[in-house]
């Protein structure tokens, strides 16, 4: 399969192949779109390409105990084990594991690194076989719909006809909603946490700030920084710092940092990190660039910006879920101003309009958007109860 790089962005009709990256990352790798390329929402064709995924627990003989977890913007498939690059605990180790809320002694948990990601799935840092160079910005634009379409191929590859649950927070909630809207027969229950059915203007604005920070770094070089092995770390770190503020809340920042000074008794009348909050954000920025690719950040933030389920249904969100057999459980957090409760409530109203089965709770917390990643006992209790109830209900349906 060959494509002509001179065809420009469209490359209509021909499939974009992505050379499998050589990697020693743990987990599973699957080549997709080899026989028949995947149709991207942009109109381009993708294939063959690789997706990386990780699993925890054991798939039962009937293949009925699978839970797909969808990761957020900067997450990845290593949710319940130490991160292979940073060595830090998996991002949902509090929630997923043997005997935990999502119990891997009973459930088979799958998490797929999203398309355009940088932990093994095809993305802008991979090699374009037609040029022998990394794609950079020649990688096709990926949407949430495309990410979910790739996940569906993984699920089918595993021989699973229906996922017991799809769960995700933030961008993971977007994927969860997309799963329920597009493949309802493959989802028994859907749990979108701290999510929205569309990305708000404010959130697009924050993403644009992050992208401009990356692009303003001279090392970004139009996205062609791979050869120099000198990525735009400053730009990516600033993007992360700005984004990180949106994941917290005013009261959480006040409680955690206040106006406390960092390793000093008095302000220094300069631009050092005098305040703890500055030092904290700088640390967040620095540690993020170790594990994330700047171009991936551009692509994935764009995928979130383009997300709007209602747009495909004449701006009527309810009709996206018409006749849905999926049992929904939406969870939001009081202090989350990035994906506020009103966004979840909008989805609940749409689901009520088609009389879908829906549970909705708002958890009281000051942790902001990040609450879905933290120790929130009430959140864990509700998730566990909902999963138990859904499992009982399905056993009942199977028996009759």
């Amino acid at each position: 399969m060959t494509t002509n790089p001179n065809d420009g962005v469209g490359r209509a009709g021909e499939s974009i192949a992505v050379e499998p990256a050589v990697t020693d990352l743990p987990g599973h790798f699957l080549v997709l779109g080899a026989e028949e390329p995947m149709h991207l929402v942009s109109g381009q064709l993708l294939g063959p390409f690789t997706v990386a995924y990780q699993t925890y627990g054991t798939l039962n003989a009937e293949k009925t105990n699978a839970i797909l977890v969808c990761h957020a913007l900067t997450g990845d498939q290593y949710l319940a084990e130490p991160h292979p690059v940073t060595g830090r605990p998996g991002w949902w180790e509090r929630l997923v594991g043997p005997g935990k809320t999502v119990d891997t002694d009973s459930y088979f948990v799958i998490c797929v690194n999203v398309l355009a990601g940088c932990m093994g799935s095809a993305g802008p840092k991979d090699i374009d076989p037609t040029t022998g160079q990394p794609f950079g910005l020649n990688f096709p634009l990926i949407t949430i719909t495309d990410m979910v379409a790739a996940q569906k191929l993984v699920v089918e590859h595993l021989g699973i006809t229906q996922l017991f649950a799809v769960i995700g927070g933030s961008m993971g909630a977007m994927q969860t909603l997309e799963w329920a809207a597009r493949y309802p027969e493959m989802v028994y229950c859907a749990i979108p946490i701290a999510g929205a059915a569309r990305h708000s203007a404010q959130n697009i604005a924050f993403h644009e700030v992050g992208r401009q920070a990356i692009m303003a770094d001279p090392k970004w070089d139009g996205g062609n920084y791979y050869a120099a092995s000198d990525p735009p770390e400053r730009g990516l770190a600033v993007a992360r710092m700005a984004a990180h503020i949106t994941y917290l809340s005013d009261s959480a920042l006040h409680t955690k940092f206040g106006r406390n000074l960092q390793d000093r008794q008095a302000i220094t009348f300069g631009f050092d990190a005098d305040f703890q909050i500055e030092s904290y954000l700088r640390h967040q920025g620095r540690s993020f660039v170790e594990r994330f690719d700047a171009n991936s950040y551009l692509y994935i933030t764009r995928a979130m910006d383009y997300f709007d389920i209602a747009a495909e249904h004449g701006d009527n969100l309810a009709s996206a879920f018409e006749g849905s057999p999926v049992r929904f459980c939406l969870i939001s957090f009081t202090s989350d101003w990035l994906f506020p409760t009103s966004e979840s409530r909008r989805i609940v109203h749409a689901l009520n309009a088609v009389a879908a089965s829906v549970s909705f709770v708002e958890i009281e917390t000051e942790s902001g958007h990040d609450a879905f990643l933290l120790e929130e006992p009430e959140f864990f209790r509700i998730l566990s109860g909902f999963l138990r109830g859904a499992a009982d209900q399905r056993a009942l349906e199977d028996a009759t």
């Binding site: 049992r327 459980c329 609940v348 109203h349 009520n352 309009a353 088609v354 009389a355 089965s357 829906v358 549970s359 909705f360 709770v361 708002e362 958890i363 009281e364 009430e378 209790r381 509700i382 566990s384 109860g385 909902f386 138990r388 109830g389 859904a390 009982d392 209900q393 009942l396």
Partner: protein, 212 residues
């Protein structure tokens, strides 16, 4: 102990027991103001009902969802209009109506989204209530009116006769009335007369729209 851990048997109110018996197994039911989900739990787990709930209090909602019930946090007065016509076989207002400001609006919505409405409420015309007000000169309390006037969630105090008058005004059909006396004795009535209004502590009404 959390609501999920307590056995419902000890905490089921008599009106909830009566309502559970009235609902045909396998029906689609919306419990408006479902509280901690006691009735919904019985309907779903013992009557195989496809049950949903709306509850205003966060504590109630969290309790319900953590015991596996499909309940959303919401307000009967603003959220019922989201549901389509005839979405449910029954819509239940179990001891919820006295706490509702827009009574007519909620009853109207109830019979738009449900084929039948089931309404239970304490009777302010019960003789003990009348006597407490008449002889005691104070706002009455009873088992079905347990809160002091200043902390009661109830803002509407009405009698069986008040309610049947309203049903007439709204043009709704009363399909069934079950009354509960002070001793817990229940009886089925075809209409509410003066004596029934005097001797009934609380009642459950099954109502529907007039056939077109």
């Amino acid at each position: 102990m959390t609501p999920a851990e307590t056995s419902h048997a000890a905490r089921v109110r008599i009106d909830q027991e009566l309502i559970a018996e009235m609902i045909a197994p396998g029906s689609r039911v919306l419990d408006v103001g479902c509280g901690d989900g006691v009735l919904l739990d019985i309907l779903v787990h013992e009557r195989q009902v496809d049950g949903r709930g709306i509850e205003l209090s966060q504590e109630g909602v969290n309790g319900c969802v953590s015991r596996g019930l499909a309940v959303v946090q919401g307000d009967a007065q603003t959220d019922l209009h989201n549901y389509p016509d005839d979405a449910f076989d029954y819509v239940i207002l179990s001891q919820t109506l006295p706490a509702i400001f827009d009574v007519k609006g909620v009853l109207g919505e109830m019979l738009r989204i449900g084929r039948r409405g089931v309404v239970s409420f304490p009777n302010f015309g019960y003789w003990r209530v009348r006597a407490k007000l008449f002889f005691g000169g104070r706002s009455p309390n009873s088992e079905s009116l347990p809160n002091a006037w200043y902390e009661s969630p109830n803002i509407r105090f009405f009698t069986l006769t008040d309610f049947t008058d309203l049903l007439d005004e709204l043009g709704f059909v009363t399909e069934r009335i079950v009354t509960i006396g002070g001793s817990g004795k229940t009886g089925t009535r075809s209409h509410i007369g003066h004596w029934t209004n005097l001797l009934t502590e609380q009642a459950v009404f099954v109502i529907s729209r007039k056939p077109d």
